[in-house]
Amino acid sequence: MKIPLSYNLRNLAVRRTTTIMTAFGIGLTVAVLAASMSLTAGLREAFRASGHPLQLILMREGSGAELSSQVSRESFNEVIRYRPGIAKLKSGEPAASLELVNTINLPSKESPDGMNLTNRGILPEGVAMREDFTMVRGRWFEFGKREVVVGSDVASRYPDAGLGRTIRFGRGEWLVVGVFDTPFPARKSEVIGDANQMLQDFQRGSLFSSVLVRAEDEVAMQALTNSLSAEQRLQLDVLTEREYYERQSSSGNLIQYVGTFVAIIMAVGSMFAAMNTMYAAVARRSKEIGTLRVLGFSRRSILTSFFIESMILAVLGGVAGLLLVLPLNGLTTGIGADATFAEIAFQLRVTPEVALTSMIFALIVGAAGGLLPAFGAARKQILTALRDM
C-alpha cells in the first residue's frame, strides 16, 4: 500500500519555511556546480564550433599554439602552398592562408587595466577563406593600409575598439574600419589586418605564425595531414582546426575542477542540512507514523514516503539552483586561451547536459540526506511512535 504523494506535498507546504530554506540550500549548491559547468560548457562550445570541418592549422612542431609558432613565407610558398588536395578559391588560387598571430592589449569593460586580444595578420587568401565573415558595420580593411577589422565581441567588450576608433599596437595606430560577425565564436575575439603591415610593426622579418589550409574533401584532408606531417624540410604539427581549438579550451578545466570541488563540499553541507530537516519532519510526525502503521501501512511504505519527501525537497532545490544560474545562460565573458594569453570571449551555456547533471546532483544530495531519517521513521515501533511527543 502506498502513502499518497499529496500527503508529502501537504506536509512540505505546512512546514513552508523549513522547506524553502532546505531547498534553497540545495539550490545554491547546485547553482555553484551548474555555473562552473555552464562556463566550461560554453567555453567548449565556443571552441568546438570554431573549426571548419575541412580546415587544417599548420604550426611549427612543438609550438602548441599559433602565437608561439613560426612559419616563413619561403617555406610556405615552396613546401605548403601548392600541395595537391588543397581546395581552390574562387580566384583559382589554393585555399591556403599564411597568417601572423600576435597578442595586443586593450582595456576592456571588465578589466580597464587591459586584456589581451588576439591580433591576426592575413593576406588576400586569408580574406577569401573567411567566407563565414559578415561585415555587420563598415568594411574589410584595405591591403597596404594601417587598417583593421574587429570581431563583434571585441567591438562590444572593448570600448576603444569600436568602428572608426584608432587603436594603438605595434609601432603605431590602426584605424578600425569594420566590425565583423561570424558563427565561429573564437574568431569573434580577433583584431584582423594586413599581415604585411603587421610584420613590419612586430619586426618579424618574413616570419609568419601559422598556415590555414582547406582540403578538397575528407580524403584529401587525411592525405594532406599525412604528407605535411611527414615533410622533412619543415617540421610541422598538423591539426584540424577543431582539434586545435578544443585544446585551447583547457584553461577552463581549472575552473571546472575548482567549481566541482566547491560544489561537492557544499553538497555534503547541504546534505547534513537536508538530514536535519528530514529528522525534524520524522520527529514531528512521530504520532502520525504510529497512526499510519495502525491503519495498516507497512514499514516499507513509511520508508518510501519519507524518502520521497526528501527527494521532492531535492527536486525543488535542483530547480531553484537551475533557475538561479539560468540568467547566466548567454552571458558573455572572456577567458584567456591556454598558451596564447589572449582573451577569447564566449557565452556561458546552461545546456541540457548541465541541467541534467545538476538535477542528478541535487537528487543525490536529497537521497543521501533522506535515507537515514526515512529508515529511522520506518524503524519506529508503533507504540513508541504513538507515545512520542
Partner: protein, 387 residues
Amino acid sequence: MRFLPLIFKNALRNRRRSFLTISSLALSICLLGVLTALYAALFHSSPPPGQELRLVTRHKVSITNVMPTWYKERIRAVPGVKEVIIWQWFGGWYKTEERDRQYFFPRMAAEADRLFAVYPEWEIPEDQKRAFQADQTGCIVGADLAKAQGFKIGDRINIRGSFFPVNLELTVRGIYHSPHESDSLWFQFKYLEQGFESLGWPNFAGTFTMLAESPEAIPGIIRAVDAMFANAEAPTKTETEYAFGLSFLAFLGNVKMILLSICGAVTFTILLVAANTMAMSVRERVREVGVLKTLGFTQEKILGILLGESMAISLIGAGIGLVMAQGLCVMLRQAPPIVQQTKTLTIEPAVLAILIGVSLLLGVASCIVPAWSAARTSILDALRFTD
C-alpha cells in the same frame, strides 16, 4: 555571563541536530576560509622578504611581446635601480611534448654575471656560482626541483624549444636554495642569444628584472621606466615581481569575481542551514520561553539567550571549520602552483578575525527572526504553544 551554561546546554539539546548543523557549518566555513585565504593571498598580500625589492618590466601588451635589449642600459640609469638583468621565459619541452605535469617546471634564461646580484637572497656555494657563470651551456636548478627531478651537479638536461625554436643542451652546474621559490631552472641568456643568431633573429628581451635600492624607490622607478618608453616602439609595464606573478592569473578569467561569487553562495548557504536549525530549535522551545518569562525573565534576556545559543553553534562550527581550512591550505601549498602566492597559503589572523566575525554575524542573522518572535510571544500564548 551567568546564562552561558544554559546557552551551551541548549545548543547541544538535540545532539543529532547539533552535530549535523555544526558539521554542515564547519564544512561551509572551511570552504569559506580557504577561499578567503586564497583571495587574501592573491589580492591583499605583501611580498616575502627578499622579493619586495624586485621589479619586472615587460612589454605593455603581454610577456609574449618582446622589447629591444638596449632598454636595459636605459633602465639601469633610472635613479633607485641597483641592478638589472635580461630575464627571458623559455618554456620548451623536457623529456616529453605532452602537457605532462611531471616534467613541467619553469625554465628561464638570464644574464649569469648579474643574476645573483638581482637575487641576493639565494644561497648557492661560491664555486657552483662560478662554474655556472663560466659555462655558456651551464644551468642552475632550484633545490626543490633538483629533488623532484633527481638532478645532480654534472647532469645533462636537454630542453626542446617550443616558443623559441632552439634546442638546449645544458649541464647542471649548481643548485640554489631560495626562501620562496626553488623549483626553476636558469641558464645563460648568452646561450639563447646564440640560438637567435643562428636563426637570424634580432636580439630582444622578454622581461627585465631589476633590484631596487630601497622600497621607497619602487614607485618612482615604476613611473620613470614606463614613462621613458611610453612612446617607444615597445611600451612597457613595470610592476613588482610579486604583482607580475599574479598577472598569469588573468588568463583564468575574472578570478576576483569568481572567488567572490562562490564566497557569496557559500555564506548564503551557511545562513540558510543555520537559520533552518535555529528556526526548528526555537520553535521547539516556545513553551520554555513561557516558563522563563513566568520565572521573571525579560524579553531582552530571552532574546539574548536564544541569540547566544545560535552564536555558540556558529562559533563551534567556525572553530572546527577554520581548523580544517588551515589543513586544506597546507595541502593546497603542495599543489602545483599557478602563482607563487599560493605557496604560503594560510589563514592569516586578519582572515581569521573576519571569518569569526562573519560567523557570529551569521549566528545572529540566522536566529534573529524566530528568536525575536518567540521572545515577544505573550506568556500565555507561549505556554499554550504546541508545535
